[in-house]
Symmetry: C2
Subunit: 207 residues, 2 copies
């Protein structure tokens, strides 16, 4: 039952996020203390930590949630599709709305320029990797318990890294170029279209 308790909790969660993001974007991430956030949101310092483990999680909280969406998108891909194509297709489903493009650009820049945020963002991406690897292993026909088989890990990590690179270039370019295009360019630089599908389960007729 998600009655008053959890509804209140969600409301407070959203309120903290809104308040904190506004402070971050105006006076900067490091210059905003948790006392500032708590005071502005009308809660106690201690309560803040009951909603967010760290200050960084306020900014990157949605990231881990979208990791699960990507996993679902990956599993929904056609069964015969090779792992690389499926992975790229699934990553295309990352649409962090909830913010307009200009705000998104500010947030990206902030994450990019703040070491602790940058690091935590990458940690989240590592969690994505753990989420996606099993399905890729399955598609590659790899033994799930074989620690020597690095193919799936390499593929997943690479594609996510391409997304990172694209995001970085997107901020550098001031959001002038669609993120998708940059992602595609990064992916194509790593594995040109001329490449035949990497490791495939088999039985596939070429084409």
């Amino acid at each position: 039952m998600s009655s008053l308790w959890s509804r209140t909790r969600n409301a407070v969660y959203g309120e903290i996020t809104r308040t904190a993001m506004e402070l971050f974007l105006t006076r900067g991430f490091d210059a905003t203390t948790i006392d500032d956030i708590a005071a502005a949101a009308g809660i106690s310092r201690r309560s803040f930590f009951r909603y967010f483990g760290t200050k960084e999680d306020v900014v990157l909280g949605d990231l881990i949630a979208s990791g699960d969406l990507i996993r679902q998108a990956l599993e929904a891909r056609p069964a015969g599709e090779d792992a690389w194509t499926a992975l790229c297709g699934a990553l295309h489903s990352v649409k962090d709305s909830a913010y307009d493009d200009e705000t998104m650009l500010k947030i990206f820049r902030m994450v990019h320029e703040t070491p602790s945020l940058r690091a935590r963002s990458i940690e989240k991406h590592l969690q994505w990797q753990a989420l996606l690897t099993p399905e890729v292993r399955r598609r590659l026909g790899a033994d799930p318990a074989d620690p020597w088989d690095v193919r799936a890990d390499a593929l997943v990590a690479t594609v996510i890294t391409c997304l990172d690179v694209a995001g970085e270039a997107w901020t550098r370019a001031g959001g002038q170029v669609p993120l998708e295009d940059l992602f595609d360019a990064a992916v194509d630089a790593v594995r040109p279209a001329s490449c035949e599908p990497a490791a495939e389960i088999s039985t596939g007729d070429p084409g």
Copy 2:
């Protein structure tokens, strides 16, 4: 002149590293405070921070130094070589000696299991990327100021990611397989040998 001042400094630096690493590996990274390290090394708490910016830097201090070695190795690669091959070759020159394999395994595991260490390790790798990208851009013939060209960034980030994946697999496998082999396997999974050299400056005779 690197006379007494810097010689003493280097000696103290090494002493702190040795002492701290011993504490880390016995009682754990998080369970070791900087006061512990300072006391064991016979210096003041304040002086510790004159040698290391953070506690993590004691463990990962050599990493940033090897970044420069990789850059040199990359620049020393044959001029005609395609960027991908040159990058992989340069990465092979990462040999963190100074520790035996068993100690190395413990350190890897510690870094892997400690979030703050993991994060900082990734930050260092980002610094590697910034170091290596210019040379790769040069090899690709990219405009140094063009923020839209993501090829070099994608290539560098991918190869470094492969090294990460290999390192992770190496710890999972208990160091049973040479790190180089795992790295090669990861690289080959991303871009099979059947691929033709990605983006090349040109004029190269095939071979």
